[in-house]
């Protein structure tokens, strides 16, 4: 992480930080980013949680667990985390493919949405 990267980020965030402010914020900023890097280890330890090719496996697991949960009288709620909401899963593969095929831009099984920043 370079100070220059932080400067660009601060400008995007409209924080109006001086060079001195940025310099003093950098160590804490780097420390948090380093900690965020722990998430990379999930790529190895949680098969199916990373990469666009594996995302459907994650959704299947989730839908299964939520389905189990919804069948449970204790957790059964008409509105909370229905399978279709959790993971944006659609049981109809035809509808999924149609959506993907009609997307302006795609990345694997994802539709690319323009970056709002």
């Amino acid at each position: 992480m370079k100070l220059e990267d932080l400067k660009v980020t601060a400008r995007l965030a409209h924080l109006g930080l001086s060079e001195e402010d940025l310099g003093s914020a950098l160590p804490a900023f780097e420390q948090m980013l380093d900690y965020f890097a722990v998430m990379q280890t999930a790529d190895g330890s949680m098969a199916g949680t990373t990469g666009t090719a594996d995302i459907e496996a994650v959704h299947s697991d989730l839908v299964l667990s939520v389905h189990q949960c919804n069948n449970n009288p204790l957790t059964n709620s008409a509105n909370f985390n229905s399978p279709n909401n959790l993971g944006n899963h659609n049981d109809n593969p035809l509808a999924n493919n149609t959506l993907l095929n009609q997307a302006g831009e795609r990345n694997g099984n994802f539709i690319v949405v323009p970056n709002v920043l």
Partner: protein, 507 residues
């Protein structure tokens, strides 16, 4: 429950405590409180559990006529022009707001020392922090200034101060309580919660504030699940317990893995060391917290519960996932504080861009700026995949593991966990004794409930070394009633402790 039974002594009591702990940013004059008749303490119905009771509200929840500072200089002069749904429902039930409580700026912190406006002390030991970010609400309840207060819980901000101050803290299921009138920090994670002087009071308040609200599209008309009639596991009383030691091992393994990735990338192996090791250390429970947690486990066994040890491997990633998502949402939500829509303007600016930059540079504190920087960075083009999208995938995995835990005929009723690895920490010469980073890493026991949208209740397990130790119960969605039942069983055998000088004005 009844209203104040000794109003004559109440104003002096409030003044004396408030001078010591600084729980309130704004409070109606205590003299006014004692002079009020029942009718002026809220319209309410003929009766009800909160009728005639005063309550406090965290200063990021709108109450018309009161300030709404969020603990920030940027909003120091801002007054709310409407009232949050949760507050309105309590007022309709006959309760009355007596003041707004201190908090970490925009809810970002675990001590309330990040408030730009004042310092709040722990009623058990005024040299220590009250916890955060709802520290003012927790301190006010613990000192007996109010019987209950509202707070908000984004990553543990109701439960952690409740544990530090020895009161009950209820974080409802996401969507159970309207967020209309709550100043947004991380919208997909936060809930308005309750801090109260007993489990029963927390339940009463929750019953009043929960429910669908047309002003908040994320609320749901939940079917309230009642507890004792719904004991799971074939009618047996079963609690799952997350072994803190095995969780620390899982975190340690994840940290080692991150170091290995560094080396594989050709970078210095020590690149993550400082952050990782500090995170690792804080996840080891303080001796007194472990003692309190063990007492809770033994207490439930004595109450006839079968205690079943479980592991939730994905929890090792919960803090990085939580902070990635929370900071990303904060960077978007706090964009409105620009001096044009909201926020105190500088005296002079060259152009609108300069106005925004100056407003935010002057108004936000360092912790808020750091989180906005992090959130902006993880959403930046080129970094989204590595941070934000990865965090969202892991969040789904964590949610899935929790839902699986509470699924099936043999599933436990709730999961018993510590709340925070330490008791209320003290202050050094340069601020809180626990570093800002360590405070974040220590959210490992509280932020999972927010990531998964689950209800959780924190309550005192014991007093160790003169300070309260809290534990928490997590449950399946909309099982607040069941969690309250289980917590109340423990409370019946282990009454809520109080700091020295505490006096109860309510029954």
């Amino acid at each position: 429950m009844s209203r104040s039974v000794d109003k004559d002594g109440f104003p002096a009591y409030v003044s004396a405590w408030e001078a010591r702990i600084g729980a309130f940013l704004e409070i109606r004059k205590p003299e006014l409180l004692s002079a009020q008749g029942e009718s002026s303490l809220g319209p309410g119905g003929a009766s009800g559990p909160v009728k005639g009771l005063p309550f406090a509200v965290k200063d990021n929840i709108a109450v018309e006529g009161f300030g709404l500072t969020c603990g920030s200089k940027l909003l120091a002069d801002f007054r709310a022009t409407y009232t949050a749904t949760a507050v309105k429902r309590l007022e309709s039930a006959g309760a009355a707001v007596i003041g707004k409580t201190n908090m970490d700026e925009f809810g970002m912190g675990s001590s309330t020392d990040n408030s730009a406006l004042k310092r709040t002390n722990n009623p058990w030991d005024t040299s220590r922090v009250a916890g955060g970010s709802s520290g003012g609400s927790a301190a006010a309840v613990a000192a007996g200034l109010v019987p209950f207060a509202l707070g908000s819980d984004t990553g543990g901000s109701v439960r952690q101060p409740a544990a530090f101050c020895g009161v009950v803290g209820l974080k409802p299921t996401y969507g159970a309580v309207s967020r209309f009138g709550l100043v947004a920090y991380a919208s997909s994670l936060e809930s308005i919660g309750v801090l109260a002087d007993s489990v029963g009071r927390a339940r009463d308040v929750f019953r009043i504030i929960q429910g669908e609200d047309p002003l908040d599209q994320t609320t749901v008309a939940a079917r309230v699940v009642h507890g004792t009639a719904n004991q799971k596991a074939g009618g047996k009383k079963v609690l799952a317990v997350l072994d803190p030691a095995s969780l620390a091992q899982a975190v340690s393994a994840a940290v080692r893995g991150a170091r290995g990735l560094d080396a594989a990338d050709g970078g210095a192996e020590s690149a993550h060391r400082d952050a990782a090791e500090e995170a690792n250390l804080i996840n080891l429970l303080e001796e007194e917290v472990l003692a309190g947690f063990s007492k809770a486990v033994e207490g439930y066994k004595a109450l006839g519960y079968e205690v079943r040890e479980v592991s939730i491997p994905s929890l090792a990633y919960s803090v990085p996932v939580y902070y990635t998502i929370a900071t990303a949402e904060a960077s978007a939500n706090l964009a409105r504080f620009d001096g044009i829509r909201y926020g105190k303007r500088p005296e002079w600016a060259e152009n609108p861009e300069d106005l925004i930059d100056k407003t935010r540079a002057m108004g936000f504190g360092s912790e808020v700026k750091l989180r906005i920087l992090l959130g902006t960075f993880v959403l930046r083009s080129g970094f989204q995949d590595r941070y934000y999208l990865r965090a969202q995938r892991l969040r789904k995995h964590i949610t899935g593991e929790f839902l699986s835990l509470f699924t099936g005929p043999e599933a436990p009723s709730a999961l018993l966990m510590p709340v925070f690895p330490t008791r209320a920490f003290g202050r050094g010469d340069r601020g809180p004794a626990l570093s800002s980073f360590a405070q974040k890493a220590a959210d490992i026991f509280t932020c999972p409930a927010n990531l998964a949208g689950l209800p959780a209740i924190a309550f005192p397990a014991s007093v160790e070394g003169g300070l309260p130790v809290g534990v928490q119960l997590l449950g399946a969605p909309f099982t607040e009633e069941l969690l309250c039942d289980i917590a109340a069983e423990y409370e019946a055998d282990h009454p809520i402790p109080h700091p020295e000088g505490y006096q109860s004005f309510w029954r």
